[in-house]
Chain length 226, copies 2
């Protein structure tokens, strides 16, 4: 049986949410962070979960964990950047074959996305959920002029889960000093191939108050369907 | 006084909205399409508006125009692709110096976005509203492997308004046969420089039912502020 450990970076400060810590905002009857954690908790494929939080979040998550009976999930202090949080969580994770990283502010994780990610990662050792870009995307120069319009059909907006063979992710974190907006980018810099697999538009990242409006609509649908 | 004509492509069929014609869905007390048309109607900078519709839309828009007292706006039959609709509308537009193209399914157009677009277009003859990309975007090959992770800081998600010197846009439409997801791309293919200017995240395109949920939240804010 392969061992899968999950890391949930959740140490951000929610600046675009008006200063409130978005991870603990109510969403369909439970805090936003509880959604993805509880999908990981209930998924048999996942052996353990480490969530990286800021100091205030650590306290709130401890209470939440006890109240909701989380049993696979431990917490650690995250860092200033997303990748600092992932690095801190990696240190706490036990010996695993695969590491699945999932943003704490993407509540609508499903068992399907977890399973598909692990399956997709078998090929090259790294897989990332992604959806076709809805936008026309252009590259701009410092003067504000268009340098290039990208071929939309080939563009994917990256989500999480991002699943890696543990040794690859450890190596990526051992060598890197540079910033990256996702873990796969660090792995790509090692020269490793990364496979994209089908994410879901519903698997949104809750960043702004408008995102929260959408999330609440989706949460109502999920409860209606559940 | 410079003459500015506006074109509103609105002939799409709303396939991602469950088959309903999204342009006539209610949004804060008026049909979605009425929002941008009425901002153009009330903006002194804009002399005339041509909206391109599908056959069913033409009938509904005629009733709407009469009911709401639109006086600068005429309609034409649009085409299968967005650019076919813009080409049809261009034929109907009078002699103007500038053409402003705005998607009919972006309700939250403001006079500021119109004014800024015209100002920005003075430099090179073409300007497009855009916002920084929120997503990490990767380029994928046919096998589903990542070819490139794009430098997010240089990426802009393109919106409308897109404003063009009339002769440039006419030339772009005269020579092009290829498809493009926005008008600026056609202009870029002529070798013309396109300037990006600051759009707004609120200036969203309503494509899916979840987009409509966000649009209704924004419409409530606008009415609350108005």
């Amino acid at each position: 049986m392969e061992r899968v450990g999950a890391i949930v970076p959740a140490a951000g400060h929610g600046r675009r949410m008006g200063g409130r810590d978005k991870l603990f905002l109510p969403l369909g009857g439970r805090p936003l962070l509880a959604w993805c954690i509880e999908t990981l908790e209930s998924c048999d494929l996942v052996g353990e979960v480490v969530v990286a939080l800021n100091p205030a979040g650590l306290k709130r998550a401890a209470l939440l964990s006890e109240a909701r009976g989380w049993c696979k999930t431990r917490a650690c202090l995250g860092g200033a950047r997303r990748q600092d949080s992932v690095a801190a969580a990696l240190l706490l994770l036990g010996s695993v074959d695969w590491v699945l990283v999932h943003d704490g502010d993407r509540p609508f994780l499903t068992e399907q996305l977890i399973r598909d990610g692990i399956d997709a990662a078998r090929d090259t050792g790294a897989a990332v959920a992604a959806v076709p870009s809805k936008d026309t995307v252009k590259v701009v120069d410092a003067a504000g002029l268009v340098v290039q319009t990208l071929e939309r059909d080939a563009l994917r907006a990256v989500q999480t889960p991002q699943v890696f063979r543990a040794d690859i992710l450890l190596r990526a974190y051992a060598v890197t000093g540079e910033s990256a907006t996702d873990d796969a980018t660090l792995v790509e810099r090692l020269g490793c191939q990364v496979r994209l697999y089908d994410g879901a538009y519903e698997n949104l990242k809750v960043t702004t108050p408008d995102d929260l409006v959408v999330a609440r609509a989706i949460a109502r649908r999920w409860k209606g369907a559940g």
